[in-house]
Symmetry: C2
Subunit: 499 residues, 2 copies
């Protein structure tokens, strides 16, 4: 990994060392680590662009967080906050070195079962929050696929979405109040554990999705909703993407609100089927496929609610889903539902048959642009020769377009880079968003100017300067176009969730 | 009404006149009015602190809006945007004079019935949006009591709430995208008509609730949801506030989500009953009252959903609501529901029996502080001798505490001012918010420092300076403590909705 390029605006190595000594004096309960292993863990997120920080700081108290920011501001040292490191964009990589502020230990969860709130530390893991809520009959719906390990601080920093967003919304919709620190070190609270609050400017929502650049989140209050009583799962196959996406349109037009409506394209399913063919496990699937048979496109759908509601909706849903389908399955129990889900849960890993490296672009397009986008992914495939398997959350238009390639093949790398650029341009042309739930970080920074005008970006930067005059918080992100392709990746690193 | 005090930072009258001449040249389709009548209309909102602007500008095109802001920035002329003028806080009063930018004509509404969006101009009236949505089977839930005349631009500017917020959320929860202009005149779009979008900093939500101080909203895309099929209405009476509010707690604890849960205290109901007693119409009420009988406290509750859901929930709701009640009524049809609603719809006007002037404070408290707050309103009544009738949205803790007095009685005015201060301090002490749906404007500006720390307010001001370096947009609001009591009110003005 390369050494920290110390920008002229930041402290010199000598100044950094002096600041760290000063900080150690302020630390009585927290931990400051400078060992290689700790620094390597903190050097990257799942996009694997790695950069070693000078130190990893695990504060134990609010006073220690304040001390970090005060010292860092005075000495001009980059500070990058971190939870699990499961971001996909390099947003967590301390690309200018400096200090990583690790909140993974701030993982307390307290459920207010009468008012329906979860009071959590920034390091609380998403699924643990929902688990605690569930014990009291409540539900925390945002479910990024990283929910088993990603922290709420990170979820808030990138406004994480998930599979259930079209019905239940995203992280932002559940954040009632935030506590934390301004980049300059003052403690602040944005909002209170209340369901209405309009006093002053809303910096809570400005912080949400600002990728750790405008403040340090230490605690959050999340809104909970009553847990749905029942759900039922359907899987339907279609001859192609057009038939599947026309069905999506019919479902939404009928004002049916699915809790899940996952689209899987033929390329993705092909990877899945080939994997099972190789393993000789085609027979284990909940539908019959002959070896070598052409893969269909699919929709995985769930509806939830109270028991009677779910029961009543089944017939119209079967009619809508089944209308253009080759076949339709409905799960009669939890085990059968899990069998239908297996395709969606494992298709992402199955893509590695098409290349050792996967780019996962979480773009969003309007309903009327879903089919044009899918057609375009096939054009890109034809043009570049790289596979573009795509699945995603069809009810909200948030598709994960993947580009698969072999990293060590220089020509493929070039084509992969070109593919992403083509896709990003097309998405914006189709009235869409370059990111629906991952954020900008380093990976999407070259495309920010496709999405926003100069005046819009200038306004964002003025806000950054207003709140973080020394630019210490997560520097080098979002506004500075970063060329991912020039930087070697730490491909050897194994995350706890890698399999 | 007093003349505009031209602050040293703003243009002199001569400079303003020159700028207006310049602006007229840029206007080809829009209207610039300087007549007394137009200026008086634009001088106030429902809190009646009035200040005449120099001109009322009704732009017809985006280019004209840009021209207004460009000229105003160059000449340093205050610009205050306006919809219907139904704000309750003086947020719309052009307190530093200058130009009022009137968007009431920008009232186009277009429903996307497949994707479930309303695309609207800033001047579109709230109820008209829901009406248009309803024709296509969709629902726009935010329902401030001003919904019949307030515009969406104003609803967004103060993040208006309403009666259904505990189940359906507030304006912010439905704003998907905004179009408009930076204070410096550049056109911007924050968000797109998409259900997921996390690119760049979220200025959309920073604008929402910023009371017209950070940008000019011209258009919005609103999320719609499927219209609930059925509802049923209950009215229950309790011997006192404690019994009613304990019932609220039981309902929420059972994770029942009412679409409406309105609390009415004994003072409020007493006003209502006395009005009917005077009019000899006690017999018209949907319950029997003997003249002079002590007024109970009340809960008005609705549940909604699909027909079967509503049917199934009736019994548990009757048990919860009726447990501590003196009596309970359930409406069997729409006419009966309207009869139960009459109390809530007319109780506010009935308060004028207690004084010719009403202060309406939209505070919010946590569930556990509801009863302490109500008890405190009675203490304030005892201390000041002024009536403090209170009703509000009990499921979200947003109570409208009123102070009734006669404006021309100097002693009562003093007591009214003292009452509000006592209540605001108590609300913050109870962990609550000084405003849940009206905003700060002029009226709440003296209390901003109760709610926020110095660092929080400084951060807000830095954002204001970053986006509006000349401070032209809605100056004199929020951060400058304004003494409402020193300024005569335009009490003679009749708003179209006054009755």
């Amino acid at each position: 990994m390369p050494k920290s390029p110390t920008g002229p605006e930041f402290a010199t190595p000598r100044q950094r060392a002096a600041a760290l000594r000063q900080l150690r004096k302020a630390f009585t309960a927290g931990v400051i680590e400078t060992g290689d292993e700790a620094r390597r863990v903190a050097s990257l997120d799942t996009c694997r662009v790695a950069h070693l920080p000078d130190a990893v700081i695990r504060p134990a108290t609010d006073a220690e967080v304040a001390a970090v920011l005060r010292v860092a501001n005075k000495a001009r040292i980059p500070v990058t906050t971190r939870g699990a490191g499961s971001a996909t964009t390099g947003a967590v990589t301390p690309i200018r070195g400096g200090w990583v502020l690790d909140f993974s230990g701030w993982n307390d969860i307290r459920i207010d079962a009468v008012s329906g709130y979860a009071h959590v530390g920034a390091g609380a893991v998403n699924a643990k929050i929902d688990e605690a809520a569930g014990k009291a009959g409540w539900f925390y719906p945002p479910d990024p696929s990283s929910k088993g390990y990603s922290t709420i601080g990170g979820n808030i920093a990138c406004n994480a979405g998930g599979l259930r967003a079209a019905k239940y919304g995203v992280t932002r919709d559940y954040v009632v109040a935030l506590e934390g620190f301004l980049p300059t070190g003052e403690p602040v609270k944005w909002g209170l554990p209340l369901k209405k609050y309009v006093s002053g400017y809303n910096l809570r929502d400005l912080w949400i999705g600002s990728e750790g650049m405008l403040g340090v989140i230490t605690r959050a209050t999340l809104k909970l909703i009553p847990r749905p009583e029942a759900r039922t799962t359907f899987l339907a196959a279609y001859k192609d993407e057009a038939a599947a996406l026309r069905t999506v349109r019919e479902i939404l037009k009928a004002r049916v609100v699915p809790s899940i409506l996952e689209f899987i394209d033929r390329q993705t399913l092909d990877c899945f089927l080939r994997k099972h063919e190789k393993a000789g496990t085609l027979g284990s699937l909940p539908f019959s496929v002959k070896p070598g048979e052409a893969a269909p496109a699919m929709l995985l759908m769930e509806i939830d609610g109270d028991k009677a509601q779910v029961r009543r909706q089944q017939k119209p849903v079967r009619e809508l889903l089944g209308g253009k389908a080759l076949w339709l399955r409905q799960a009669r129990d939890e085990a059968a539902a899990e069998a239908l889900w297996k395709i969606r849960r494992t298709c992402s890993q199955a893509m590695f048959q098409m290349g050792d490296t996967k780019l996962n672009e979480d773009i969003v397009v309007p309903l009327e642009s879903q089919l044009p986008l899918l057609k375009y992914t096939l054009e890109v495939k034809k043009k570049t020769g790289l596979a573009t398997p795509t699945f995603g959350h069809a009810a909200d238009g948030n598709f994960h377009v993947h580009v698969m390639f072999d990293w060590d093949e220089a020509a493929q790398r070039e084509q992969a880079k070109a593919s992403i650029e083509l896709i990003m341009r097309k998405v914006v042309e189709l009235g869409g968003a370059i990111t629906g739930e991952h954020g900008i970080g380093l990976a999407k920074s070259p495309f920010l100017t496709l999405q926003h005008t100069e005046a819009e970006i200038a306004a964002m930067k003025r806000i950054k300067d207003a709140l973080d005059p020394n630019g210490i918080l997560n520097p080098g992100k979002m506004f500075e176009p970063f060329d991912m392709w020039l930087q070697p990746r730490d491909r050897a690193w194994r995350f706890p969730w890698d399999h």
